[in-house]
Symmetry: C2
Amino acid sequence: MDLSIGEVSKRSGLSVHALRFYEKEGLFANPIRRTPGGQRIYREEDLQWLASCARLRSSGMSLAAIRRYVELMRQGPGNEHERLALLHDHEKRVEAQIHELHECLDVIRYKVKAYAEYVARTQAGELRDPTPPDAEADCHRAAPAGPSTG
Amino acid sequence: MDLSIGEVSKRSGLSVHALRFYEKEGLFANPIRRTPGGQRIYREEDLQWLASCARLRSSGMSLAAIRRYVELMRQGPGNEHERLALLHDHEKRVEAQIHELHECLDVIRYKVKAYAEYVARTQAGELRDPTPPDAEADCHRAAPAGPSTG
DNA sequence: CTATTAGCTAGAGTCGGCTCTAGATCAAGC
DNA sequence: GCTTGATCTAGAGCCGACTCTAGCTAATAG
C-alpha cells in the first residue's frame, strides 16, 4: 500500500528528483506523509494523481496551471466552477493545438510526398536530370538545377 | 522587394532579436545580404522560408533539426534521401503527438463534463448535498463530502 | 556491526529558445 | 548638420522544468 519514492519513480516514470520537485512546488493533491526518519511515503492514490498530471503535462498544461488546479481541489467544495473553467480553457487550447498540428502535418506530408517521388524517380531510372520534387517556395537557394524544395 | 529586419519582424511575427539569432544559428536557407553599412537585407523568399520554419517549429521541430535540414539544402542536390528521412521522422512524431493529444483530450473532456454537470445541478436545484461529479481517482484529498474529482 | 543502497536538504547547473542590454553606427527627415 | 529612430555586435539574462551535486542520514542485508 505504501510506496517509497524509488518505487513511485519507477512506476510513474518521473525521476526521484522530479518527485521531490513536484512536492516542493505543491503539485500533489494530498500531502505526502513521512516516516519517522523523514522519508517520503506515497500511496497508490498519489500514483494515480501523477498519471493524471502526466496527461495534463503532456497536453501542454504548465506546472503553474496544475498547481492552481491543485489549490482549488485543496480548498474543497465550492469552487467547482473555477476548476471547470480551468479545465475548459485547457480543453480549448488542446483542441487548437491539435488543429494546428494537422495544418503542419499537411505541409510536411506534401514535402515528404514530393521528396519520396523524386527519390523514387532518381533511383528507378537513374535519369540524368530528374525533375525536381516541386517548385515550392521553401528552398530559395541558388541551387543550379537540382531539387530545390525545402 | 528588399526588406529591412524591422519589416521582416512585423511580417513574420518573429522579433528582430530572434531574426538575428536565427541567422547566427544558420537557420536561413540563403545567406542574408547586407547594405554597405552592414544592415541586413531580406527578400520575400526569406519571409516564405520563415513561414515554413514557423510550421516546423510549431509542430515541435527543434531549431537543431531545422538547421540540419538547412545544411542539407545548402549542400545542393544529392542528399534528397536524407532530407526525406528527416521530414518523414518528423511526420511520424507529429502524428504521435496528435494521437497523444487526443488521448489527453478524452481525459480532459471527461472531467469537464463531470464538472459541468455538477455545477449545473448545484445551480439549478440548490440541493443541500449534491452528488459529486464522479468518483474519479484524481482527487484523493480527504475532502469531507464535496465533489472530490480532480 | 557494518557495508551498501536509498533517501534527505539546499542549492547550483542545464537546455532550448529566445529576450534584453550596452554602447556604437546607420539612414532619413528637417 | 543634426536629431531621431532603426540597426549593429557581443554577450548577459530569463523561463520552465527539471537534473545534478554535496554532504549527510535512514533502512536493510549479511
